[in-house]
Symmetry: C2
Subunit: 233 residues, 2 copies
């Protein structure tokens, strides 16, 4: 990378940032002032050089031999993650999942305020979950634009998800957090982050199956080469 | 990697496998018989060499110049993901989130059968969500062992999550799928997969913030070097 040039950061790095943020927040609460890349790596299960590489994407934070200033790095990562401004969210779909998300206090603690939920079901419209009101779907566009909502959560069945994304594409919303198990498209101006619950379950299933699988692969290789070696974990 | 040697597969590769599986399933439904690494990569947004590298972790699938046999690769990846056997699941916590998960039909379609839910709330015990019965928490250990349940879902508030993991550590369960926003430990014999909803939300927030951030970094570099260059997307 030439000097002055800003490289786009890979999604893999981005997905690690929340872990740095959380870990630094915990150190800050323990009044830790400085932390080395070794120590950060040890807590997070990364190598020290991985930590330095990750953080170098966003400028020069550490000081050789002195480590990182915990508070400064924490604030800087918060800024990078967009946590220095409050985000206004609505949840589209006030069924079980929407209600579960509305009840989840961790989001608000990080500056993501859930203002309202929207549903087509007249039995739900007018009710409240915690202190979040449920409004009629027909009011979604007006509400979002009027209240400068920047994130919409899609928590409707998969069959309705694209329809909701189409409606949202007509609003000033900047991001969609999609829980429906289907990819949705909301045009070039809206960022969509899909929550793939099934992928996470399949990853668990793989990891449960891994030792058996490795044995099977080793036996296959053994047949071919007459030589087998399974590394220690 | 020497011949015959089986290398542990990185978590990054594993997390991509469900995407291959899904994509191949869709090709299979369209009666596509063969697919090249270029074509697979194009659909999934990876490079062809990434595709070849990923799949090479599990043996030799493709044939130079002929591409992959779609059905064979689909079945092989299903086996790798442990989808050739049915998994029996229980959900611990029958609140909003547990009920939402019990209603999610995608899991069953992939061989993950939800047998029962467990809760401490006497108002919930005895009820049913879809066709999934809610039983008393006190019966969890007995039920799991008696019915050879291999996956337990933790869908209780964060304060109760470790307590549930402790109970599960006394069962024959092989995997825990944890939705509580806190890491849990269930001993060396149980694989834990954490669903970090907040990380996903923070990733969305980062991506919404990215162009502003990149401008800021470029300005910073410009001050230092008098030279600025922002690459095209």
């Amino acid at each position: 990378m030439g000097s002055g040039e800003v490289k786009r950061v890979s999604l893999a790095v981005i997905r690690r940032l929340p872990k740095y943020h959380k870990c630094l927040g915990e150190l800050l609460q323990k009044n830790v002032e400085r932390v080395s890349s070794q120590e950060l790596g040890r807590i997070l299960g990364f190598t020290a050089s991985q930590v330095r590489q990750d953080l170098n994407n966003f400028g020069e934070f550490g000081q050789q031999g002195y480590g990182y200033n915990v508070e400064q790095l924490y604030n800087e990562i918060a800024k990078i993650l967009g946590l220095n401004t409050e985000h206004k969210m609505v949840i589209v779909g006030a069924g079980k999942l929407g209600q579960a998300l509305a009840g989840y206090r961790d989001f608000e603690r990080h500056g993501f305020k859930i203002l309202a939920m929207f549903d087509v079901d007249p039995h739900l419209v007018g009710s409240k979950v915690r202190d979040v009101p449920v409004y009629d779907m027909n009011d979604l566009i007006y509400y979002v634009n009027e209240n400068e909502v920047d994130i919409a959560v899609i928590a409707v069945p998969r069959e309705r998800a694209q329809e909701v994304a189409d409606i949202l594409s007509k609003t000033l919303v900047k991001g969609i957090w999609n829980f429906a198990p289907v990819e949705v498209d909301a045009g070039p101006n809206i960022i969509v982050e899909n929550v793939h619950l099934l992928d996470s379950l399949l990853t668990l299933s793989y990891r449960m199956n891994e030792s058996k699988l490795m044995e099977r692969l080793a036996r296959k290789n053994e047949k071919k080469t007459g030589f087998v070696k399974i590394p220690a974990e």
